[in-house]
């Protein structure tokens, strides 16, 4: 400043010093093309996340029994629920792997998109009209909702339960709030985004001309240090890096070792038949060896004809069957197929009087705490010949961490419904 004379009490900064002035924003990258490309990627990406998220919600069969339902006041938001199938057996492994891994991959795209439109946040006046004010409130739901969903998801897969409440209702209801704003935003902006990208594709001159006039474009840009195309490659590269260090946790063996930073990435917890990934260890669940010993442990089956108590030795004398099934967790990791061996759930149902059509079953664990110490399985899951009360895995007895003396395995079901340390099974309509 050349002028050193006393100033009025509130000195006015040059307008470009304030983020409310368009001149404050200097990046030559911002413009309709950059924002439109990122927006269209998110349009597809977030739709995939929303659909796979709804599928995961359905996979828990929340409509089946209160024990499966972490959102009992869902109302109409569960309108689409259906009986979760058991075919193909890798269904949940796929949908939830996509949900989490793809979500993590989209983080750089989301951050870049938000960066590209940040000048609009500070634009003055805050509202030009009532409609504009409503639109800005909707944008708060959009941005807040997107960040809320990504942050709760990313924290949950790292077992960092900082968020205010149980993950299931927060992530589910949050998704609907976010999606309400997202659909509106997409409906209002997609036509223009498609136009922008189409119009500017290929023709460099055209793009320069369009960008010069478009909104979000800095009126006084700094000289570029990277082209818009280069910046887009940068965002894509960041996504690729996150994907590359995460995706491997959906497979056993060398591929898992490529998941360098993701939970359940790297090495397996053990070696040998029981060496594969563990959701919750016996120690974490508070299972004592005295409860699971041959003398102490009995499986209590209840059904139409009464109650039957079976020791593990008696279970082993029943017809045993094998099934190759994965463990697939809501946290997005999964194992490859493991060879489980045990008694078919429908054979257990028959033992207590359900000979023909197997009914639903309520499975209870020895666990004393934990959201899923009790879980319900639907009749179609009980009836599947690959659904087992497993006693062995990969040719050996289950280890304590994998649910010794007996655990449930059901094709295509989320990991937590594959109850470990099973104590009691109650057959009948729930």
């Amino acid at each position: 400043m050349r002028d050193h004379t006393p100033r009025p009490p509130t000195p006015r900064l040059p307008t470009s010093r304030l983020p409310t002035s368009p001149g404050f924003w200097r990046s030559p990258l911002r413009g309709p093309w950059f924002t439109s490309v990122l927006g269209l990627v998110l349009l597809v990406g977030i739709t995939v996340l929303f659909v796979t998220g709804l599928l995961s919600y359905a996979a828990y069969n929340p409509g089946l029994a209160p024990v499966n339902d972490k959102t009992p006041d869902k109302g109409l938001l569960g309108f689409y629920l259906f009986a979760w199938p058991t075919h193909p057996h890798w269904l949940y492994r796929l949908t939830q792997g996509v949900h989490v891994t793809f979500g993590i991959t989209l983080i750089p795209v989301l951050l870049a998109k938000l960066w590209s439109v940040v000048p609009k946040l500070f634009a003055l006046p805050p509202a030009r009209s009532a409609a504009h004010a409503l639109e800005r409130i909707s944008l708060l739901l959009l941005v807040g909702g997107a960040l809320f969903e990504f942050v709760t998801g990313v924290l949950n897969v790292q077992l960092d339960y900082l968020f205010p409440g149980s993950f299931y209702p927060l992530h589910f209801y949050g998704a609907w709030v976010f999606f309400a704003a997202f659909v509106t935003h997409a409906a209002l902006k997609t036509p223009a985004a498609v136009r922008n990208v189409r119009r500017m594709r290929g023709e460099r001159d055209g793009r320069e001309r369009q960008e010069a006039a478009g909104e979000l474009v800095a009126p006084r840009p700094d000289p570029p240090t990277v082209s818009r195309r280069g910046a887009l490659w940068f965002v894509g590269g960041a996504s690729l890096l996150l994907w590359g260090t995460t995706a491997g946790r959906s497979f056993d063996g060398p591929l898992r070792r490529t998941a360098l930073l993701a939970p359940h990435g790297g090495a397996d917890p053990g070696s040998g038949p029981n060496g594969f990934q563990i959701n919750k260890t016996a120690a974490y669940a508070g299972i004592a060896a005295t409860e699971t010993s041959e003398d102490a442990w009995r499986l209590v089956l209840t059904g139409r004809t009464g109650t039957v108590r079976l020791s593990r030795a008696e279970l082993l004398r029943l017809p045993l069957h094998s099934a190759a099934l994965p463990i697939a967790c809501v946290e997005g990791w999964s194992t490859s197929d493991q060879w489980w061996r045990g008694v078919r759930l429908r054979d257990l149902a028959a033992l207590v009087g359900h000979d023909e059509e197997p009914p639903d079953v309520l499975v209870e664990s020895l666990q004393r705490h934990g959201a899923f110490r009790r879980a319900a399985l639907r009749a179609n899951q009980v009836a599947d010949p690959r659904s087992l009360l497993a006693l062995l895995v990969n040719g050996e007895d289950l280890s304590p961490d994998h649910g010794y003396p007996a655990r449930i395995v059901v094709p295509a079901a989320p990991g937590v419904l594959n109850t470990k340390w099973v104590a009691r099974m109650t057959f009948g309509d729930l």
Binding site: T71, G75, L77, I104, I107, L111, L114, W115, V118, L121, A131, L134, E135, S138, L140, L141, V143, G144, L147, F148, V151, V154, L155, Q158, L159, D160, P164, G165, P169, L170, Y173, G174, W176, V177, A180, A181, T184, P223, T225, V226, F234, G237, A238, L241, T245, L260, L261, A262, P263, H264, A267, P269, G270, Q277, I278, N279, K280, T281, A283, Y284
Partner: protein
């Protein structure tokens, strides 16, 4: 100026969106309304008013350092590995920072103490890769320059 039909459509869409968001929102806020509202709005504010200014300032500083040295065009060689490393830390900070070490070990039977080391090694590889790329490009540029320079006859 926006044409009237579009404005009407926009109003209808917004009304529909708010109604649905409200329906889900009362359920979202049912237990700990203050905590959830703080997280919802706080996430947007933290991002827009803390995270973006922080990384924008860091980036501006970086460009300035390179600019002062007369090598503005080389900014990307540092910006890319630094941003990628920061991104990995942003996403995986609970594991890298060891915040959930105990729970992670108890729950999964896996050790969480490798994450910090792995993140540091990935960061080292990112910078080393960038340095290598820089050297290769510099060399090819120098070679081209010597080839194109006319022979000096004295």
């Amino acid at each position: 100026m926006r044409k009237a039909p579009q404005g009407t459509m926009q109003l209808l869409l917004l009304a529909c969106s708010f109604a649905l968001a409200g329906y889900a929102g009362v359920r979202l806020l049912a237990d700990d309304w203050l905590g959830v509202a703080l997280w919802f709005v706080g996430a947007a504010l933290l991002h827009d008013l803390v995270l973006v200014p922080l990384y924008a300032a860091a980036d501006r500083g970086l460009v300035r350092v390179f600019g002062a040295a007369g090598h503005r065009d080389r900014t990307m060689y540092v910006r890319v590995p630094a941003a990628l490393s920061a991104l990995l830390l942003l996403v995986w900070f609970p594991l890298i920072g060891g915040q959930t070490d105990r729970r992670y070990r108890m729950a999964t039977g896996l050790y969480a103490d490798g994450f910090l080391a792995r993140w540091l090694l990935i960061t080292a590889v990112l910078f080393a890769g960038s340095a290598l790329l820089f050297l290769l490009r510099l060399r090819s540029r120098l070679r081209r320059a010597t080839k194109e320079r006319p022979p000096v006859a004295h």
